[in-house]
Every structure is written in structure tokens, then in C-alpha cells.
């Protein structure tokens, strides 16, 4: 580990960051994509004003949906707990502003691509009154890691890179393995998305402070902050903040701008040169990855005492009139956010939450902004060209696959519905990054077909398990019936033999009994 920024840098000096890249691991494949980030990064992050209504889905995270603890008609304050986590994996939901609970009912949500899911609908009173923060007397460094983790859980913090895995549980799981490094993911390799870039430019200190909290929770003393080389302003801002914080444990790492180096497994390989085993986690090789937004949210909750109620989101694409980054309260509808930025362009055909490579296309803009919404991308129909031809076996897809799969073979076997071969060629390891689609001269929708094939493999595995269970029960029943039959036969045989032995006496006894009975009557 080594310092990458000279000491004694004053705030008004621009740090010339030359974080060395010679000690990075090697990433196979990947693509250099056009960034399209310039349009949305010219201005500072704009604040979206409070809307009239906030729609807060109960399931904004991986795991079970949260359970409401308020009722229709209740008046709530900003930051108040509205729904608590259910089960072992979950996160709470907080009110993003003060107001009255209008209803708890289904509303279109982005996680279900525009289909409805249960939400708490809040009518804002416009006053934005915050709940009184419970005075925490102890500084987080004096807290036990377990206490710190349950505090983090109560803040509703989830992974803000888009995966929305509850952060506290991720840290808890990490504590059961031996972790050496925390890696802050400021890569943001997908085109158009620039929310993390703006966050690092404007709130670098908060990001690093959050990293310090996380390091204390994990009880480790090494943190790499990874940023791509196409973000010089963010790198400079982080360098200045690091100098001010003067924390030896924080190291800035600049990586080449290659998609998809921001994927968790790919980042671990790049920064620490360790391969995450298939179906394993980065914690298996001693690393934990957190998005820079998550780190800032941890700072806001632990030190700023504000739970996760807002986030920065990029609004971009050819279908948007004025691309920019905005900070909005969780629960603001996409329609309101787009309207604030200046509305849609003349034609707007597809609305995507996320980036052009891995985003989710949704059917309506009535969905609210949730913790997972890192980008709102509107694209035109004309960005799709060419018709699908048969695979010409050029092998370009294998050359760009970051997991070193053979998409060509996976495509053949997915078409043949050959579950055995799909397992053999490791379909489960596909990270659905979309690189193979972009280089295919035959314009085959490879990623979509792999998604379908993965579902199919799961379906077939479930069917097989069901059949195995039914078979086991059938055979158990058959053997039970066999045993009953044998038992009955054995009893019958015994009766017969005992009757044979005691036969004449028994018959005489019966005759005597009958005579007595008829005499009694």
C-alpha cells in the first residue's frame, strides 16, 4: 500500500492525480464504450423541489418487503420510520418528507417494470418538518461493530449502485469471513450514468467519511477508492478530500475506462488481483465492495442523522430535452423529475431505469424514484438497427466476455434447450453485461436469450426436484403398502396355525359357551 497523493495539498490547488495503474489486475475482454456523460455533467446537481405526493414502495431492496407501521390518515414527519424490515433480509422505509399517509395500496413501481406493487402514498404538507433526531451520545468509533451495524440497518441503507442489497446484512455477512480490503466502487462504467461522478465531485468528504465508518464496522484498515480515468474532476476532488482527512488507510486507485470494470467481481479482480470463485462472493477472497453512494448515505445517517430519503439520479438520453443530474426525494415520480429537467424531447420511445447496457425498460413514468434508481434514460427507437442473422461463428463475443464464457456456444445450446450443455458451459456465471450483444455482427440478442435460458434452467431444476420428491413419496408408499400386506399375511398365518393347534378344544369351548348363553336366555 502506498500514498498516491502528496501531503500538504491546499484546498484551492487542483491535485494532479497520477494514481498508478501498473499494479492492477487483468480484466479479460470488456469494451471501450462512448461515455455520453458530458451532457449531464456540465452543471452541478440540481435539487428537485418537493412534489405534492410521494409514493414509497415497500420493497425497495433485496429480501422481503418491509411491513408498514403506520396507518392511513397518520401524520408523519420527515425521516420517520414508515415500514420496518421483515424477516432476516430486509431494510426499513422512511418518510422522505412530512405529511399525511393517504393510502397503502398498489402503485406502478420500477422493480416490477411498471406493474403495481404495495406502496405507502404520502401527501406532503410542504413544510418538510424533520423528526427529532434521537441524540446519539457516542461517536461511532466508540460503538461496538454489532451496534454500529444495527444502527446502519435502522437507517434504511441499501446498496445504491443499483443492486439494493441491505448494507447492514452485507456487512454482517462479511464479518463472518476474514476481510482485508474495502473497495469503494466509484467506477460507473456504464455510459450516460454520471450520478456517482457528481457525488464524488460535490461530496467527496462525505463519501470518504462513510468509508471510515464502514471500515470501523468491518474492523479493517484498508480501503481502496476506485475511479475510472474518464473522471478527472472526481479524482481531483477525492484527492483533495483524502489529503484533508489525512487517513493512511484510504488509497485512491485510478482504473482504465473499460466496461464492465464496475461489476463487483470484475472490480475485485482489477483492484486486488483476486478471482471471485463462481457462485461465490467477494468476501470469499477477502474483499468487500460498496458503492460510493452507499458510503455517503452511511455518513449521512451515522454522522448526519438523516436516513436514506433522497439520492442523486442522472436524467439523460436522446429522448430527454436537457440531460442533467438531479437530487430528488425517494418517492418522487419519474414524470415529475423529467418535467423539472425540461421534459422529453420530440420523440421518446423507451424509458429505462439504469444504463443502456443493463438497465430495465419500464412501461410508464408514473413509477416513483426509489433507492435503486441511479439513472433515468430515455432512448429512441432509431437506436436499434439491423436484423438478426444466423451466428457466423466469428468468435468476437468470446473475445469481449469479461467472464471468459463462450456466448456462441451458449447461444447454440440455449436454442436447443439443452440444460446439460448450458450448465457445462457455465451459463450461471454470465453477468448479463451485454458486451457480447454489442459486437455481434449478426445482431443476435444474446443477453436476452441467456436471461431466458437461465430461467429455463431454474425451471427444469425445479421440475426435476419435484419429480424426485414425488418419486420418493411413491416408493415410500409402495414399501409401506408392502409392509402392511406382509404384516397382515403374517398375522393371518399365525391365526390359522394357532387355530389349527388349539382347534378341537377351542371349538368345544365355543360350543360350551353357546350352550351356556342359550341356557341363560
Amino acid at each position: 500500500m502506498h500514498r498516491t497523493v502528496p501531503r500538504g495539498l491546499h484546498q484551492h490547488e487542483t491535485a494532479h492525480v497520477s494514481a498508478p495503474t501498473y499494479d492492477l489486475g487483468k480484466l479479460h475482454g470488456g469494451l471501450r464504450l462512448p461515455g455520453h456523460k458530458a451532457a449531464s455533467t456540465t452543471e452541478p446537481v440540481r435539487d428537485v423541489p418537493l412534489p405534492a405526493q410521494l409514493i414509497l414502495p415497500l420493497a425497495q431492496h433485496v429480501g422481503d418487503p418491509a411491513q408498514p407501521v403506520v396507518n392511513t390518515g397518520d401524520y408523519v414527519l420527515k425521516g420517520q420510520l414508515l415500514a420496518e424490515p421483515d424477516g432476516t433480509l430486509g431494510a426499513p422505509v422512511h418518510a422522505s418528507s412530512s405529511g399525511t399517509v393517504l393510502a397503502i395500496e398498489p402503485w406502478p413501481v420500477s422493480q416490477r417494470l411498471g406493474e403495481p406493487a404495495p406502496c405507502i402514498i404520502l401527501e406532503c404538507d410542504g413544510e418538510d418538518r424533520p423528526i427529532e433526531a434521537t441524540r446519539r451520545t457516542a461517536h461511532y468509533t466508540e460503538l461496538d461493530p454489532e451496534e454500529l451495524l444495527s444502527t446502519i440497518l435502522s437507517g434504511g441503507i441499501v446498496g445504491l449502485g443499483g443492486a439494493v442489497f441491505p448494507t447492514a446484512q452485507k456487512l454482517m455477512q462479511a464479518r463472518t469471513s476474514s476481510i482485508d480490503h474495502l473497495i469503494l466502487n466509484g467506477i460507473e462504467c456504464e455510459p450516460y450514468i454520471s450520478c456517482d461522478d457528481m457525488l464524488m465531485r460535490e461530496r467527496a468528504t462525505e463519501v470518504l467519511s462513510g468509508a471510515q465508518v464502514l471500515m470501523h464496522a468491518l474492523q479493517i484498515d484498508s480501503c481502496f477508492v476506485a475511479v475510472e480515468s474518464d473522471k478527472p474532476e472526481a479524482l481531483a476532488s477525492l484527492a483533495i478530500a483524502m489529503t484533508e482527512l489525512d487517513d493512511e488507510r484510504l488509497v485512491l486507485k485510478q482504473v482504465p475506462t473499460i466496461y464492465p470494470s464496475g461489476g463487483e467481481d470484475q472490480l475485485v479482480q482489477l483492484i486486488c488481483n483476486r478471482e471471485v470463485p463462481s457462485t461465490g462472493l467477494p468476501t470469499d477472497v477477502g474483499c468487500l465492495v460498496q458503492n460510493v453512494g452507499t458510503a455517503a448515505a452511511v455518513h449521512d445517517w451515522i454522522i448526519g442523522q438523516e436516513p436514506l430519503i433522497s439520492r442523486i439520479t442522472t436524467v439523460a438520453g436522446d429522448g430527454i430535452a436537457n440531460p442533467m443530474n438531479v437530487r430528488a426525494r425517494i418517492g418522487t415520480t419519474i414524470a415529475d423529475i423529467v418535467a423539472l429537467t425540461g421534459g422529453y424531447a420530440e420523440s421518446a420511445d423507451h424509458l429505462i431505469i439504469g444504463g443502456p447496457m443493463t438497465g430495465k425498460s419500464i412501461s410508464t413514468d408514473r413509477v416513483p424514484l426509489v433507492k435503486a434508481t441511479n439513472s433515468i434514460l430515455v432512448v429512441l427507437k432509431t437506436s436499434f438497427t439491423g436484423r438478426e442473422l444466423p451466428c457466423i461463428r466469428c468468435g468476437d463475443c468470446a473475445a469481449v466476455c469479461p467472464v471468459q464464457l463462450l456466448p456462441q456456444q451458449l447461444h447454440w445450446h440455449a436454442r436447443a434447450d439443452d440444460e446439460k450443455k448450458l450448465r457445462e458451459f457455465s451459463l450461471v456465471d454470465c453477468i448479463e453485461c451485454g458486451c457480447c450483444d454489442l459486437v455481434c455482427p449478426s445482431h443476435i440478442p444474446l443477453t436476452a436469450s441467456f436471461r431466458v435460458a437461465k430461467g429455463r434452467i431454474q425451471e427444469l431444476a425445479d421440475e426435476k426436484a419435484r419429480a424426485a420428491r414425488a418419486r420418493a413419496r411413491f416408493e415410500a408408499r409402495n414399501s409401506r403398502l408392502e409392509r402392511d400386506k406382509e404384516k397382515r399375511e403374517a398375522e393371518l398365518a399365525q391365526q390359522k396355525s394357532s387355530a389349527k393347534r388349539a382347534g378341537p378344544e377351542a371349538i368345544a369351548e365355543i360350543m360350551r359357551r353357546k350352550k351356556r348363553q342359550s341356557e341363560d336366555d
Binding site: 421440475e463 419435484r466 419429480a467 414425488a470 418419486r471 413419496r473 411413491f474 415410500a476 408408499r477
Partner: protein
């Protein structure tokens, strides 16, 4: 010319002898064929194929006493897989079946044990004069319980 014919014929004979020796001596993918066929069947044990269970049907298929398209729960996929395994033609299904589970109408059930005794996978729990119920996760949709019920309280609920 005759020498050519004789040479080729001798070569063919020699090759054939070699192959038959090899198939006898070298271990091929023997494994119980009936077991392999049984693995491909859905284990519903519904007897819709005319055999009392999946294994008897598998045995019949291997003996060539039954066609491979008689299993409705297995669907077209099973016919195709059997065709591939056995090298036979993949015929269209003799009859189709939508996946469903059985449901007992508890207001009508009299606790007579008829359905419980006939379920091939023991998916019905109940005792004499006690309410019977079907374990939905174990029901294979074979429909064998519908006929024995004297009060007609069992119906099939399709799985979407």
C-alpha cells in the same frame, strides 16, 4: 476388378468383427436403460399412460411394449427426450394435460379415506371421520383421487 471387390469385402468383414468384439469387451454406457428412461419421466404416478406408475411404463417402453408419447404430464419435452435417448421417432402426444393440483372442498368432505388411500404419492392427509386435505406442494395432478370420492368434493385447480 474381382480382387478389388474381394479386398473391400474382406475389409468390411474385418471391421465388423472388430466392432462387435469391441462392443462386447469394452464397457459402454450400459447402466440400467429402464432407470434412464424412468429418470426422464415426470414421476406423477398418475397411470394415465395405462401403466400403474412411471417405472412400469419405463419398463414397457424399453421392452418396446409401449409407445413413448403416452405421458401427458411429461409433455412434448419428455417425448423429445425419450426419442433422443432411445433413437425412436418423436410422435405427437396421445393426449395433453394442463398442469393442475387437486383441491378438496372442505364443506363437503366426509372423511371417508377413499381418496387418501388411492393417492400414489401420499399427498393427502386425513384420518377416519377427520377432515382430509391435499398437500399442494406434493400433489402431482394425476387426478386419481377424483373418482373414488363419494361426495364429489375434489376438483382440479389449474397452475398458472
Amino acid at each position: 476388378m474381382f480382387i478389388a471387390i474381394a479386398t473391400i469385402a474382406l475389409l468390411a468383414l474385418a471391421a465388423g468383427l472388430l466392432l462387435s468384439l469391441a462392443s462386447r469387451r469394452l464397457p459402454g454406457e450400459s447402466g440400467d436403460l429402464v432407470e434412464q428412461v424412468n429418470e426422464l419421466l415426470p414421476q406423477t404416478q398418475c397411470a394415465q399412460c395405462g401403466f400403474p406408475g412411471c417405472r412400469p411404463y419405463a419398463a414397457a417402453i424399453v421392452e418396446d411394449a409401449a409407445a413413448i408419447n403416452l405421458c401427458p404430464p411429461g409433455g412434448e419435452a419428455t417425448v423429445r427426450r425419450l426419442a433422443t435417448l432411445l433413437g425412436r421417432e418423436a410422435l405427437p402426444l396421445a393426449k395433453t394435460l394442463d398442469p393442475a393440483v387437486a383441491v378438496i372442498d372442505e364443506s363437503l368432505c366426509i372423511g371417508c379415506l377413499h381418496c387418501r388411500n388411492v393417492c400414489p404419492v401420499d399427498a393427502i392427509v386425513g384420518a377416519q371421520h377427520f377432515m382430509h386435505t391435499i398437500i399442494e406442494s406434493e400433489c402431482t395432478g394425476c387426478e386419481l383421487c377424483i373418482a373414488p370420492c363419494p361426495v364429489d368434493c375434489i376438483s382440479m385447480k389449474p397452475l398458472t
